[in-house]
């Protein structure tokens, strides 16, 4: 199935106000509202002819206006893929977790939380994964200030 067909199928299920299709030439993607992502994810996985059983990658991008969470999905059964994007404001970035749909999201979301500071509501263990628990700030944000000192040690 092409990205457009997947979008049409999705639209009939969750409604046109929750999602929006962007025909980017290299990677067409579906923009999803932050409160609908868990439902969309479950639908994409459970519907037999969509069958998105694999979450290839989950990451975030620090855009000038907001954070975009990117979900790269793939169906091993059918061999088609789709990209989802959820935008969340910079001052209080919260997105619903998709951990219950794909177990791989657990670590991916922890990494995004660690490096971008985006919170995932409903996540079972949202703690830092790469950096120490008492680290200040989230390094992959564009406005990150490099610390001069950590636990009394110069960096």
């Amino acid at each position: 199935m092409t990205a457009n067909e997947i979008f049409e199928k999705l639209k009939s299920q969750v409604g046109a106000d929750k999602i929006e299709f962007q025909d980017n030439p290299l990677t067409p993607f579906v923009k999803v509202k932050a409160d609908a992502i868990a439902q969309v994810a479950q639908f994409l996985k459970d519907t037999p002819d969509l069958g998105f059983d694999s979450l290839m990658c989950l990451t975030a991008v620090d855009n000038p206006a907001n954070f975009a969470i990117v979900y790269l999905l793939f169906s091993m059964k059918h061999g088609h893929k789709v990209t989802l994007k959820v935008e969340t404001p910079k001052d209080n970035p919260v997105v619903l977790t998709v951990e219950k749909t794909w177990a791989a999201a657990n670590w991916f979301e922890r990494e995004v939380y660690d490096l971008f500071g985006v919170k995932f509501a409903g996540h079972s263990n949202l703690v830092r994964i790469m950096l120490p628990d008492d680290w200040d700030g989230h390094p992959l944000r564009k406005d990150y200030q490099y610390p001069a000192i950590y636990r009394g040690l110069p960096l």
Partner: protein, 390 residues
């Protein structure tokens, strides 16, 4: 692990918790950060009752170097040496995956000869890292000879790499648009001789280790990874194939010149135990060595003459856009998600590595396991820590 964080479990298909049957008191012990079975710096906090593990909490990040942040400060060519450090045992494959992602983003056509050279190098590197795996797997069972044999043959591959690009570990050989230099004279003959030699040694490895009774007893029926759990955790590469899934990006999403080459995808069949056990994962890698030899021979035969590098400016600016490109590395899917804003540096570069996902599938299958079996399970996943932490 810090005191204030409550470890939680995410497991669905866990094995029976033997710890509930066995009387005694559970305790938390640290296995690592330095441990012979980790192949890097990885701390596993084990909740155990004597020898029996009830839960595993991997603590990663010791080797976090912030590669993704570094990438934002460099232009596309400058990041190439850093990709060597993603998986230092398979630098060629990482080079290739990164170059492919940027070429896709900037629509750069790679000369045919360069594609063949890349495939030869990638497959040689696959053999080299699988030889290291064979050796370390032997070490985990207490067999000291295989690592000596594995390193002996790997040395010759490193000689081939050294004569090609001057490096023995971090090659920085590939370039966006091709490779840095053409093959040196004498390379093809030496490569062919090596392939013939390795084919004979391969039989020796099997006699020595693969079908060794003690090795089989340690590996068969240990650390069984069910297919649905593997896919759920995004497990890829030989670990997924060990569970019986015929899934290889070189076939399923062909890239470079792989469609022009003939090879098979070995999968785990549970011939000595159960599908998806540690021995299956081990044997998939051993059989991949044979397939890589096949690929190299064909690629050397078919290699056309011509340019090895497309003309790409020192600083080039891909049009704004984004791309996700993935390649089959020795450890599984290495994906690069690259976002360009039209400038000379990537706006965002996410490295999706195989070991990260593969490691996350270790805790759910380790419940109720003996510590000694856990060592075999983790070893057979062949995790490389710089790839997890980046």
């Amino acid at each position: 692990m810090s005191q204030n964080q409550e470890p939680t479990t995410i497991v669905k298909n866990a094995a029976t918790r033997m710890s509930e049957v066995v009387l005694g008191e559970e305790m938390l012990i640290n296995m690592g950060p330095q441990h012979p079975s980790t192949h890097g710096v990885l701390n596993k906090v084990l909740k155990t009752d004597g020898e029996i593990i009830s839960e595993v909490f991997p603590q990663v990040g010791y080797l976090h170097r912030g590669l993704e942040k570094i990438a934002e400060k460099l232009n596309y060519h400058q990041f190439m040496p850093y990709t060597d450090r993603i998986d230092y045992l398979a630098s060629m494959n990482c080079n290739m995956a990164y170059a492919m992602a940027v070429e896709k983003l900037a629509s750069i056509e790679v000369p045919k000869r360069a594609e063949y050279i890349r495939v030869v190098m990638a497959e040689f590197n696959r053999i080299a890292t699988h030889l290291v795996f064979m050796g370390t797997m032997g070490l985990e069972t207490g067999a000291w000879t295989p690592i000596v044999y594995g390193f002996r043959e790997r040395e010759e591959i490193l000689d081939l790499f050294e004569m090609t690009c001057g490096q023995r570990l971090t090659y920085n050989y590939m370039r966006i648009g091709g490779v840095s230099d053409d093959l040196p004279s004498g390379f093809v003959d030496k490569a062919r001789r090596f392939c013939d030699m390795l084919e004979q040694k391969w039989v020796e490895y099997n006699n020595l280790l693969s079908y060794n009774q003690i090795f089989i007893m340690r590996m068969a029926k240990v650390g069984v990874l069910p297919v649905d759990l593997a896919i759920d955790y995004g497990v890829t590469g030989p670990v997924l194939r060990g569970s019986g899934v015929k899934w290889d990006l070189r076939k399923n999403e062909p890239y470079s010149v792989y469609p022009e080459l003939e090879f098979d995808i070995p999968i785990g069949t549970g011939e000595l135990g159960q599908v998806g056990d540690a021995w299956d994962r081990y044997m998939v890698r051993m059989r991949e060595i044979k397939q890589s030899i096949r690929i190299i021979r064909q690629a050397l035969d078919k290699m056309p003459s011509g340019e090895v590098r497309a003309k790409v400016g020192r600083i080039f600016k891909p049009a704004a856009g984004e791309v996700y490109s993935r390649a089959e590395n020795p450890r599984g899917e290495l994906g690069f998600y690259v976002v360009s804003d039209g400038s000379a540096n990537p706006y965002r570069l996410k490295i999706r590595t195989a070991s990260f996902n593969n490691l996350s599938a270790v805790p759910p299958i380790s419940k109720g396991m003996m510590i000694s079996d856990f060592v075999m399970t983790l070893g057979s996943f062949d995790i490389v820590l710089p790839e997890v932490d980046r």
